[in-house]
């Protein structure tokens, strides 16, 4: 027997997309723990006196009442659980949080409960607010998201031969989802990324740590670049394309505190 969801319910959610609709409404997309991705209309939320507008801004963890309809749901009675203020006055953190929320949106589906993803999103946005090393918190999110979605990178054995890898420099194959022994060059493989021994150690550490410890990681420039390339390439492979927010994140990262055109 299947239980029918109530027509109106209250849920937590993180706002990941806002689109203007008509004269004063907005379409809000939320990542929620039980109902997956929810798209709903917040009526008159663009008007200055709106009770909803201030709460339903991007990257806010809110509690919201959802009235289900056949098309767009109706959103009302919103209150903020966490506004993540630390993401709002720092361009670098904002750009990373945008990237993280876009990834969460792309890995979510409407009606598909995903409590671990929701918890991860809330946890990482909270960590990012005060992170000493926002770069590693971002890498941690990519790694955990891949793990939660069933695409955990294979980091112990060669994905080509199945043999346990020696402690040495190897390669990473996004197509095959793991490390390839430097001696086993797969035929017809297009994209193999370099993975030094240190990078492999960092990947393994990211796979079993939490956001707090990821923030404390000390990573060299070369390893950082390799980690970023490997995890982003893996995310691209799973999603079948890149993310819109990457360009801005890269631009801000390239010129911290110094915008240029």
């Amino acid at each position: 027997m299947t239980s029918r969801r109530p027509v109106t319910y209250t849920t937590d959610g993180v706002v990941v997309r806002v689109i203007d609709l008509g004269e004063a409404d907005r379409i809000i997309t939320l990542v929620t723990p039980v109902h997956g991705l929810i798209r709903g209309v917040a009526k008159a939320s663009r008007k200055p006196g709106s009770k909803l507008g201030g709460h339903l801004d991007l990257l806010r963890h809110v509690s919201v009442s959802v009235r289900e309809t056949r098309t767009l749901h109706g959103l009302s009675q919103v209150s903020t659980v966490n506004g993540f203020r630390g993401l709002r006055d720092d361009l670098d953190r904002f750009s990373r949080a945008s990237y993280i929320s876009e990834m969460a949106e792309r890995f979510s589906v409407e009606g598909g409960a995903n409590q671990p993803l929701f918890r991860l999103l809330v946890q990482v946005l909270g960590s990012l607010e005060k992170a000493v090393n926002p770069e590693m918190v971002t890498r941690y999110f990519e790694m955990r998201l891949l793990q939660l979605s069933g695409f955990a990178p294979e980091l112990s054995r060669c994905v080509e031969t199945g043999v346990e890898l020696d402690p040495a420099d190897h390669l990473y194959s996004p197509d095959r989802g793991g490390l390839v022994s430097s001696e086993a060059r797969p035929v017809g493989e297009s994209a193999l990324l370099p993975a030094s021994l240190n990078t492999i150690k960092l990947l393994r550490f990211l796979a079993r740590t939490d956001a707090g410890h990821a923030d404390e990681m000390k990573v060299g420039e070369d390893e950082n670049r390799q980690l970023s390339r490997i995890l982003r390439a893996q995310v691209h492979h799973v999603l079948d394309r890149g993310l819109q927010s990457e360009a801005f994140m890269d631009e801000v990262r390239a010129r911290p505190g110094n915008a240029r055109l």
Partner: protein, 216 residues
């Protein structure tokens, strides 16, 4: 949407007009039908005036070379007005924001329209906005203040931060519109960010002499 979906029994020209209205933002199928039937009942001269107004906008409106606001000529009315304070530029997201600020009749400086806001999740970055043109306007040193009047939401704030980083090194003062509780709202329903801004930007109530004599 195909005309047949909009009004299955309507004559093709009527269905075409309904479809055209339906493409406009904020116009649903019912509103599109109402507008169409209103136009059908309209006297011919009024309908011609309406059509001429639509075509006039398409044929004659350009972006002002200086501020990127909508204009009938390469220089808009505001940029061409020598009475305005040319040391201040108010940066807004859209041309409609210029109309809103002008309606308040409290600002006499110039404007700059960005035509958007930084929105990473929609793939809109600084290079998609009229920021280069803004920088060009600041080069001669005559502007002393840039007022960033982007919307007080996350993307508007991020754009304001970016502008501050971009033009701060030029020595121009960059200010932001005050944020806080809107007139007529309830504190009970305000979100934490709005309340925080309202408290941070609180101001002293001016002292006024009150006559203690009752009934006077």
């Amino acid at each position: 949407m195909a005309p047949s979906e909009t009004a299955p029994s309507a004559a093709p020209p009527v269905a075409r007009l309904i479809e055209a209205f339906h493409r406009l933002p904020g116009i649903g199928p019912k509103s599109a039908q109402r507008l169409t039937y209103h136009l059908i009942r309209m006297p011919r001269e009024e309908a011609e005036e309406f059509a001429a107004a639509v075509l006039g906008v398409k044929d004659r409106i350009v972006l002002c070379d200086t501020c990127a606001n909508l204009s009938e000529s390469p220089e808009c009315v505001i940029c061409g007005d020598l009475q305005r304070d040319r040391t201040k530029i108010c940066v807004v997201e859209e041309p409609l924001d210029v109309v809103a600020i002008e309606r308040a009749r409290v600002y006499s400086g110039l404007y700059h329209v960005l035509h958007g806001v930084i929105s990473p999740v929609n793939g809109i970055g600084p290079n998609d906005l009229k920021l280069r043109e803004l920088l060009e306007r600041l080069r001669d040193g005559s502007v002393t203040e840039v007022i960033v009047a982007t919307n007080p939401n996350l993307e508007g704030e991020a754009t304001a931060m970016y502008i501050q980083q971009l033009i701060g090194p030029l020595g121009v003062s960059v200010t932001r519109l005050a944020r806080g509780l809107p007139s007529g709202s309830d504190i009970e329903y305000a979100d934490d960010t709005t309340l925080a801004h309202a408290l941070e930007s609180r101001s002293e109530i001016p002292q006024r002499q009150v006559d203690p004599t009752p009934g006077s």
